[in-house]
Every structure is written in C-alpha cells, then in structure tokens.
C-alpha cells in the first residue's frame, strides 16, 4: 500500500472543511460558541480528518471496493426495495441490538451493548455541543430571583427550539445525560477489562495498545467526566480545574485515537450490513457447486468477485486448464490436498517412514 493516498487526503480535507463550515454556520460565526470547548473541537476535527482518510484508503482496497460497487449497483437496481427492508431489519438486529455479539456470549453482549450505547449517546450529545450547533441559555428573568425555578432555552443552529425548567424531567435528563452515558460505559468497559485480565484465551492473544488501552481510555474519559459533575455537585467545585483538564486530555486522546486503533471498528461495523446484502443479492446469481464435493458452498457472485479480487491482489489461482481453485469449496480444497498427498505417497511406494 502506498504511504500517501491522494484520493483519501482530498476526501479527508473536504470532510474537514465541510465540518468547519457547518461549525461556523451552526454557531452563527462563533457568536454562540462556547470557547471552553475549542480544544474538543480541534480534537474532533482531527478525528474526522483521520477517520475519513482511513475510511477512503480502506474502501479503495480490492476486497472492500467490491462491496462499494455492489452497494452502488444495488442502489440503482430493482432489488433496492428488497434490500432496504432487509438492511433496516439487519440494522436493528445487528447494529442497534448487536445480536451477533450476544450470541457469542450473553454477558459479553450486554456489556458491549452498554458500552456502545454509552459511547454513541455521548457522541450524539457532545458533538453538536462541540460544534456549537446546540447551546443553552438561561431565561434571564428566571435567573434574577433565587426562589424562582430556572428556565432554560435550547438553541439549535442558532434557532430557539424550546424551553424547560431545570428541575423538570427533561432538565434532569438533559443535564444528566452524559453522566448516565458514563455509568453505562464504565460498567461495560470494566467488565471487559476484568475479562481481559482473567480469561486465559484472551490473555494469550491480546496486546496492551490494541486491547487494554482502549478500555482504559474509555474508563478514564467516563470517570473524569462523571467526576466533573460530582465535583460540581458535592465538592463545591474544588479541583474542578484539574478534573476539567484531565477530562479534556483523555477525550482528546480518545478522539485522536479513533482512526488508528480499536475504535475504528465503530466506523467499520456498518459494512457488516453491506456484507449481508451482498450475500442476499448474490443468491440471485445462483449458488456455486464445488467441483469435488458436488455440494453448494457460496454464491456464484462471490466466486466471480473473488477471482477478480485475488487477481488484483496478485494471486493467480488458475491452473493450465483454466480452472480456478476458487471453484472448490473449503472441504473440496482440503480433499484436493489430501488426494495430492496420497498420490505422492503412493508413487513413492510407501505411506510411512
């Protein structure tokens, strides 16, 4: 792979510029922008640049490109309706409720769900805030008198959306939401952390930077975030400065880390739906029958595409007769090897020694 990918660079640059534009628009030329969030903003912009860059590099690789092409093809075909319903179901089942993880292990699935929901909800709240798209103002009259309940107005892209009293349910949820996210993430991440410390199978294959660090980071972000609120509420803001700085630090490390490390899987995961659609529409091309076992093993489309992918990657699996190894099922291929081995042994006159 090339070290520098021009297409990806321009895609990433474009995405970053669009985001900046939207920030300017949304905050009415920074008029509504909360200066305290500017460090987060730069972190997020960096993350966007990185994610889009890596995503573009990724999507250009031969095996991935096949999905891109097939998805675009499907988008403009008559199978579109069939596929949208299928993808919607798939999205709810596998992305929203992550049923494939729950099937691997119930405990793991629930822990992951907590972590994922915690993170995604936190993103949904913090990103618009960081971009200055949303901000809150106190209705001035309610702030004047200590015995009158404070009422807040919520603004989106500079437009006034609604008002709510601070002690209402909406108020409780709005200002407490991030805390709830933190709690979910802490429970989930701690579960995984202890598992990674105890499970012999995991211990043998994990590395610190790929597996432990992300969990630590999630915990640190959540704990410092939660700390900010608790600090405000119970410690009258003592050490608030320290908490704020450390929270910002961990969040920014987290953001910068997204394109490089384990968190990129959050961006990649929806490709699973692509793979499922590919399998579904592939069935319309019929099933491939193994030349040795005479049993069906995958779709014809898959075999055709794999021939292309392997060739593009520099593997030539065709023999002189023009047959491709890819026309054999996994079991068929194992049998081919066994038959070749048997022949070699038989030719030599002895099976043993």
């Amino acid at each position: 792979m090339k070290l520098f990918n021009t297409t990806a660079f321009f895609a990433a640059l474009t995405a970053t510029l669009i985001t900046v534009t939207l920030v300017l628009l949304g905050s009415r030329n920074l008029q509504n922008y909360d200066a305290a969030l500017v460090a987060y903003l730069f972190g997020t912009l960096f993350a966007i640049f990185g994610v889009v860059y890596r995503y573009s590099v990724w999507i250009q690789r031969p095996p991935t490109k096949v999905y891109l092409k097939s998805s675009i093809r499907t988008l403009f075909s008559k199978e579109f309706i069939q596929c949208s319903w299928f993808s919607l179901k798939d999205f709810v089942k596998n992305i929203l409720f992550q049923s494939f993880i729950i099937k691997r292990s119930k405990k793991k699935g629930i822990a992951h769900l907590m972590m994922a929901f915690g993170c995604l909800m936190a993103f949904a709240i913090t990103v618009p805030l960081t971009f200055g798209w949303i901000h809150f103002t106190l209705v001035p009259e309610t702030g004047l008198y200590p015995n009158v309940e404070n009422i807040y107005t919520i603004h989106f892209f500079g437009f006034e959306m609604s008002t709510f009293p601070i002690n209402s349910f909406v108020g409780f949820m709005t200002f407490g939401a991030l805390n709830w996210c933190s709690v979910l993430v802490i429970i989930g991440a701690t579960y995984f952390l202890q598992k990674r410390l105890k499970d012999p199978g995991l211990i043998s294959t994990q590395t610190f930077e790929a597996d432990i660090l992300p969990l630590l980071l999630l915990n640190l972000v959540s704990i410092t975030g939660l700390g900010l609120s608790l600090n405000y509420k119970f410690m009258n803001g003592k050490a608030f400065e320290f908490m704020a700085v450390s929270h910002a630090f961990f969040v920014i490390v987290f953001l910068i880390w997204i394109p490089f490390g384990k968190f990129f899987h959050i961006i990649q995961r929806p490709a699973q739906i692509g793979a499922h659609i590919y399998k579904e529409i592939g069935k319309n091309t019929g099933m491939q029958v193994c030349k040795h076992t005479k049993k069906e093993y995958t779709t014809r489309l898959h075999v055709t595409d794999l021939k292309e992918i392997t060739t593009e990657l520099g593997f030539n699996l065709q023999n002189n007769a023009g047959d491709s190894l890819l026309e054999y099922s996994p079991e068929g291929k194992r049998d081919l090897l066994a038959i070749a081995h048997l022949q070699a042994r038989q030719t030599s006159g002895t099976y043993f020694g």
Binding site: W58, R61, P63, Y67, N94, F100, K103, R104, D199, P200, G201, L202, I203, S204, T205, Q206, T207, H265, Q268, R269, A271, Q272, G274, A275, Y278, K279, T298, H302, L306, I309, T310, L313, F315, N316, L317, Q318, N319, D323, S324, L325, L326, S329, P330, K333, R334, D335, L336, L337, A338, I339, A340, H341, L342, A344, R345, S348, T350, Y351, F352, G353
Partner: protein
C-alpha cells in the same frame, strides 16, 4: 505474552496417517482461544469409495491469502509467523477468507457472524506447550516438535512447506510430510 514461544518447534502434518478419530477436533475445542468451537478440520475425502480422511490445520502462510482478501483488516500475522484468527471487533463475516484460503481452513461460524480459524493453540504455544491437536493425535498425523526429532522419527520423509495451486506457489510455516526428497507438492 509471547516470551516463551519456542521458535525451534514446528508443526508437521501427514494426512495419510490420519485415522479420522477426531481426537484433535475434540481437543481443539478445549483450546481457551476458541470458546469450544473446534478449528481443526477432519473430513472424509470421498466416503462412498474410501475410508480416507484428511486433517487440516491452518498452514500459516508466509503471505496469507485470507488476510489479503479480508475487507475488514481482521486477519493479521505476528512476528512468529502465526496468522491469527479474525479480530472479533473487525470481522464482518463476509467469508472471503473462507472461500479464498487454498487449504480450506477458515471457518465461518454463522451464529456469531464471525470467521474463526486455527491460531496454532496460541494460548499453549505462547507459553511453551504443544498445540492440543498435535499433543493428543494418536496416529502422528499431527506432530509438533523440532526438525531434528522429526528426522529421527521419520527418516524416509521430508517436511515440505511449498505448495502449488494453479499458477500460485504458496509457502507456509506448517510442514507436510512427503516422501524423502520432495520439495514441493503440486495440489492443483
């Protein structure tokens, strides 16, 4: 991790010795890294005409096709030449690796929507033990040890790690025992 990995010990396969008992399959499932799914394959070659069975572990290719065709970068090879099973957070269950592997090794576990494959019992080999399958194999179809040991045990066979599939030559970490002097096996 890894500090006890014995580089001088290698994996040797001889499928003509296989008796199809599936002790390896049962033992493989005991491996801590695969949650009671066996990763090794034992199957009849063509039961209607012969009792021949074959046994297949991951060959741990030098340039693994499975990793190349993976759209999700889920398969990696480490510094010891072990090609690891799919990274659970990345694998999207597309089965490219399953269909492209020239040895028919990766296995798609449909229920988990995940590819799983042999990682040479990494939980054991990484602490200096032998892989489960090769430890229990009652026929010597699977053997894990040094080249010197193997030469002594089977002086009339040579370990081969070069295989021809069509126009492609694949070299692997795992060896297959063939008649003395054989250097390459043309499979297809």
């Amino acid at each position: 991790m890894n500090q006890y990995y014995k580089l001088q010990e290698e994996f040797f396969v001889d499928m003509q010795r296989c008796i199809g008992c599936k002790a390896c399959e049962a033992a493989c499932a005991e491996c801590e890294t695969n949650g009671h799914e066996p990763m090794i394959h034992v199957n009849y070659v063509n039961r209607a005409v012969t009792i021949q069975t074959t046994v297949q572990v991951c060959m741990h290719c030098d340039d693994p096709i499975c990793a190349n065709v993976c759209p999700a970068d889920a398969i990696t090879k480490d510094e010891f030449g072990i090609v690891h099973t799919a990274n659970t957070s990345r694998c999207i269950g597309c089965s490219n690796c399953v269909m492209a592997c020239p040895f028919g090794v990766p296995k798609k576990v449909e229920e988990y929507d995940l590819m799983m494959k042999c990682n040479m019992c990494y939980d054991r080999t990484s602490v200096g033990k032998k892989p489960m399958c090769a430890t229990v194999c009652p026929s010597g179809a699977l053997f894990f040890g040094t080249r010197e040991q193997m030469e002594k045990l089977r002086p009339n066979s040579s370990p081969v790690n070069k295989f021809i599939f069509g126009m492609e030559t694949v070299t692997t970490k795992v060896n297959i025992m063939l008649p003395k002097g054989t250097e390459v096996l043309k499979v297809f």
